[in-house]
């Protein structure tokens, strides 16, 4: 599905275009001096042909995808993708080209091609792109990790998946799906300002879902797992109790079939962090992207209500609302040592986007800050493959915990008539990030401060600023959860980015809830 600010999770999105095995072999054999030579060649050719700035990214992606359906292994696939891209800025116009062959001939060819694209586009360059003064780095950064998922025997991973489905089926599921996807991303970055950076990171992405069917009524219900994708190793898989969740999921899916259908109206909501991370992504992460504010995504992902005149002035949410962007966060899908513009996150503990309810910062890539009177990028560039142009993408954007002690039960205690929502169902938000609608995996009634029975057919709608200003309760550090998506969509051609969002449970007053049951179909 295209055009989506957070794409649906499809296995195909996890696998980039598989590249030439010769290139893989060649890249595997490339030592750092060889990479440096290729980079120098690209950057020198670019400079000789008129580029005022150029960068060279040589990347290797290793992937594995395993999927089990009920008691059978449906897919076992591995892949490796290697290639490079050259990006040039010629007389204020960008151009780029890429190739899967990391050879001298191809590097020269691709660099000339990038120059040709930039020059061809110059008649459309109403205003020249200008870059801030960029800092040069020579460094290597490797994501800390305990167990490399690519070193875990494949049969061990398959057994794990089949055991998850077995647990679900034993507990009453009619259908069960479990999958593991792993990605190792290795990047070498060189730029015309002198940077030479190597970095490696790994993503581990489990997914589970069970479905139950009531043939008599023709109704069915599903329950997706609450386990989030992470920038972690296989230790993350080992540390999560999939079997217990699978069994519980089957019971809860069955319970959904008999749950009370919600009466539409205004409710107080307590949103679990397994749910709230996505609301943060859509209603805070995307609106505060500077390229949207500048109109650069107007034709696809959209613009934003957070226009530059609101910076430092907009009361985004209640005083409890503190949102931080951090690409150094442990386990974060967006965590890096350096972004794809070569901007450093080493020793950087992040920056606030919303501070005590006030909108205070945008996310930026290079060439943007000066357009709103600021000096430099804050390191939010990402390219989803070696063949993609780095654009502004989301860092890990997280809701900070309440510094005062507050448990989930404390949040329930002050609710007379409300709903507690866990997990993600459907999600949708308009192109300027005002109007949203979210579903969930599990809904429970809150009555007079106590958690009640399960509800179904629940979705809530809201408008971003009004919603966040309706927040009056926030969990403390002990309730923190790191959610995330491996496939946030943006850009043309569309790119998918992995990003995490930390959250704590939060309480929102008097939110519009609708009943999603349709009685006029089937």
């Amino acid at each position: 599905m295209g055009g989506c600010a957070c794409a649906t999770l499809l296995p195909s999105t996890l696998f980039l275009g598989m590249s030439d095995a010769r290139a893989i072999e060649a890249a595997d054999k490339l030592d750092l001096p060889a990479k440096m030579r290729l980079a120098d060649m690209a950057l020198n050719v670019a400079k000789a042909q008129g580029a005022s700035y150029a960068d060279f990214r040589l990347c290797r992606y290793q992937t594995e995808y395993l999927e089990a359906k009920e008691h059978r292994l449906q897919t076992s696939a591995t892949g490796t993708s290697v290639g490079f891209a050259v990006r040039v800025l010629v007389d204020g116009t960008w151009g780029y080209a890429s190739s899967p062959l990391a050879t001298e001939v191809e590097v020269k060819k691709a660099t000339a091609h990038a120059i040709e694209v930039a020059k061809a586009s110059q008649p459309l360059q109403l205003r020249k792109f200008e870059l801030e003064t960029l800092t040069s780095y020579q460094d290597r950064w490797d994501m800390p990790m305990k167990n490399d998922p690519f070193l875990v025997p494949v049969d061990e991973k398959i057994d794990k998946l089949l055991s998850i489905n077995e647990a679900a089926m034993k507990a009453g599921a009619d259908y069960a799906t479990a999958s593991f996807a792993f990605v190792r991303e290795e990047k070498f970055f060189a730029s015309s300002v002198g940077s030479r950076i190597q970095q490696t990171r790994v993503r581990t992405m489990p997914e589970t879902e069970v479905t139950v069917v009531d043939k008599a009524t023709g109704k069915f219900a599903s329950r997706a797992g609450l386990c989030a994708p992470r920038g972690s190793g296989y230790d993350y898989i080992l540390g999560y109790n999939f079997l217990a969740e699978a069994a519980k999921s089957a019971e809860q899916a069955r319970e959904k079939l008999k749950a009370k259908s919600i009466a539409p109206g205004q409710y107080d909501l307590v949103l679990d962090p397994t749910h709230l991370w996505l609301t943060i992504h859509e209603s805070v992460g995307h609106p505060t992207e500077l390229d949207r504010a500048l109109g650069w995504e107007a034709n696809f992902a959209g613009t934003t209500f957070c226009t530059p005149d609101k910076l430092g002035k907009l009361k985004y949410g209640s005083h409890l609302m503190n949102i931080v962007a951090d690409r150094s966060q442990e386990g974060g899908l967006s965590t890096v040592g350096y972004d794809d513009d070569g901007v450093s996150w080493i020793g950087n503990e992040g920056f606030p986007i919303v501070k005590d309810g006030l909108f205070v910062n945008y996310q930026m890539a290079i060439g943007q800050a000066q357009l709103i009177g600021q000096k430099t990028s804050n390191g939010c560039a990402f390219a989803d493959g070696w063949g993609s142009f780095p654009i502004q993408r989301m860092p890990n954007v997280s809701l900070q915990p309440n510094p005062k002690k507050c448990s989930l039960e404390d949040l329930f205690a002050d609710v007379k008539h409300g709903i507690y929502i866990m997990g993600n169902g459907s999600w949708s938000i308009d192109q300027q990030r005002h109007n949203f609608q979210f579903g969930g995996q599990l809904f429970y009634e809150i009555k007079n401060g106590k958690l009640g029975g399960m509800l179904r057919d629940v979705a809530y709608q809201g408008s971003t600023v009004e919603f966040w200003n309706a927040m009056d309760g926030l969990g403390d550090q002990s309730t923190y959860f790191l959610g995330g998506a491996p496939n946030c969509g943006k850009g043309q051609p569309e790119q998918v980015a992995p990003v995490s969002h930390g959250a704590v449970p939060a309480r929102f007053r008097q939110i519009n809830v609708l009943n999603t049951e349709r009685k006029d179909v089937a």
């Binding site: 275009g17 059978r72 116009t93 586009s121 500048l294 107007a298 006029d520 179909v521």
Partner: protein
């Protein structure tokens, strides 16, 4: 990177000769693309990526494994085959395994244009330049994307199947906005032939809508008679047929097409009698790929005929188990249109809305295919047969199953593109639909 049919055939033969497995399937695909991207009346990111890929699936009995890479050298191909064989050997048996297909007959592909293949970055920029200049002159902000691509794919099996398809594609979308931020218009389409693309006309449409949609009025949400332009219809129809028409899901009780008490609704009248949707890879307006999934020929398939649910996608395993014929998924879709012009639809509407397109569509309830999403880039109020004013955007909560039971009139079927329904070529009409559910107002422009 593009391989000719002869090169692709030779490559797959070399790979299959290396296979030690009981059976083997090889897929190869590649593409060469160029694009120009603009925003605020100027170029932003412009590029030209290319790629090639080889996937090998090896089977031992009912054990399967895949490995991907690409190289034409014998050594690298041998490594790839060995990797897939090692993966297969470690896999447990899949009781639903189906052996690779043998030789099939394929119709020739109809979606290749040498004009598109030869188009340069300069030509793309030249096509867009007059539109950006016009936008500038009209004090509008134009943003857009113009991309061309040439791609090939082939599949070969150890049982003698070989299929090769080469095609070209063009995608152009353009958005125009008023500087005060209250008006936005859009146009977009796909084609396989760049010379058939009317870039100036699309730019004019986007600019006209931007001007006409500015300073909208707020209208209460509710059930409205709506005129859905082709992009909006393409999204809803594409999501319904491409994502929900599955025989196994229906038989297993987890689909809108499940019959109460068991079985599917196949053969029953599920939609309005004026609804017919089919796929035909040889269609002149929307040619599609010549093969689907595991090498089954893509053939003309009726999905809905006069409101009757005629076919659901059915994989080879499920077909064998249920004693049905396999039904490959569509590579193109056509909804048969009517003869009512949009102007006539407006004339016959007492109170309704003209909707340009949709955005961010997600499924709320798979049981009823209830979808939610938003209108975007132009919604206009119709009163007593005339467009009277622009209105704010809406969030909708509607099921395409329900919608296709409420179609009052249809325009001619035309090639259309929706951001939300993926890249499948679609031809759909403008629809006049009764009681479309718009559940809240959006402040977005």
């Amino acid at each position: 990177m593009i391989l000719s049919e002869a090169e692709a055939r030779d490559l797959t033969k070399r790979i299959l000769r290396l296979s030690q497995a009981e059976s083997c399937t090889v897929s190869v695909s590649g593409e060469e693309r160029r694009h120009v991207r603009v925003a605020q009346n100027m170029a932003t990111t412009n590029g030209s990526p290319s790629s090639i890929s080889i996937s090998v699936t090896s089977n031992y009995g009912k054990k399967s494994g895949s490995a991907s890479g690409s190289d034409l050298s014998d050594d690298a191909l041998a490594e790839l085959v060995t990797a897939s064989e090692n993966t297969a050997k470690l896999a447990p048996e899949n009781p639903e395994f189906m052996p690779p297909l043998g030789p099939q007959k394929y119709a020739p592909g109809a979606g290749f244009s040498p004009v598109t293949q030869a188009t340069t970055s300069s030509q793309l920029a030249s096509a867009l330049q007059p539109v950006l200049q016009q936008a500038q002159a009209k004090n509008l902000q134009a943003s857009g994307f113009l991309e061309i691509g040439t791609s090939f794919s082939c599949i070969a099996t150890s049982n003698g199947l070989f299929a090769y398809d080469q095609s070209t594609d063009v995608l152009h979308t353009i958005t125009a906005r008023t500087p005060d931020g209250t008006g936005s218009g859009w146009a977009g389409t796909t084609h396989h032939d760049f010379s058939k693309l009317d870039v100036p006309a699309m730019g004019a449409t986007a600019m006209d809508k931007a001007v006409k949609s500015q300073k909208p009025t707020r209208l209460a949400p509710g059930k409205y008679t709506v005129i859905l332009e082709p992009s909006a219809v393409a999204d809803l129809v594409g999501i319904l047929i491409g994502g929900e028409f599955d025989q196994r899901a229906a038989d297993e009780g987890r689909s809108f097409a499940t019959k109460k008490g068991g079985g599917s609704l196949l053969g029953e009248t599920v939609f309005g009698k004026n609804v017919t949707i089919f796929s035909d890879p040889a269609d002149a307006v929307v040619p599609g790929g010549i093969y689907s999934d595991d090498g089954q020929p893509a053939v003309r398939t009726a999905w809905i005929e006069d409101g009757v649910l005629k076919n659901l996608q059915c994989g080879r395993y499920w077909a064998q188990k249920t004693k049905k014929q396999p039904v490959p998924g569509p590579t193109t879709l056509t909804m048969v249109g009517g003869t009512t012009s949009t102007a006539d639809m407006i004339k016959q509407t007492k109170k309704g809305l003209l909707i340009t397109r949709f955005w961010y569509i997600r499924e709320v309830d798979p049981q009823t295919v209830l979808l939610t999403g938003l209108t975007r880039d132009g919604v206009f109020l119709i009163e007593h047969g005339e467009i009277t004013q622009p209105v704010w955007n809406f969030r909708f909560n509607e099921s395409p199953v329900a919608m296709l039971n409420k179609v009052i009139a249809m325009g001619p079927s035309v090639r259309a593109y929706g951001d939300e329904s993926g890249g499948m070529p679609l031809s759909v009409p403008t629809l006049l639909v009764d009681e479309f559910t718009l559940s809240s107002v959006s402040d977005a422009v």
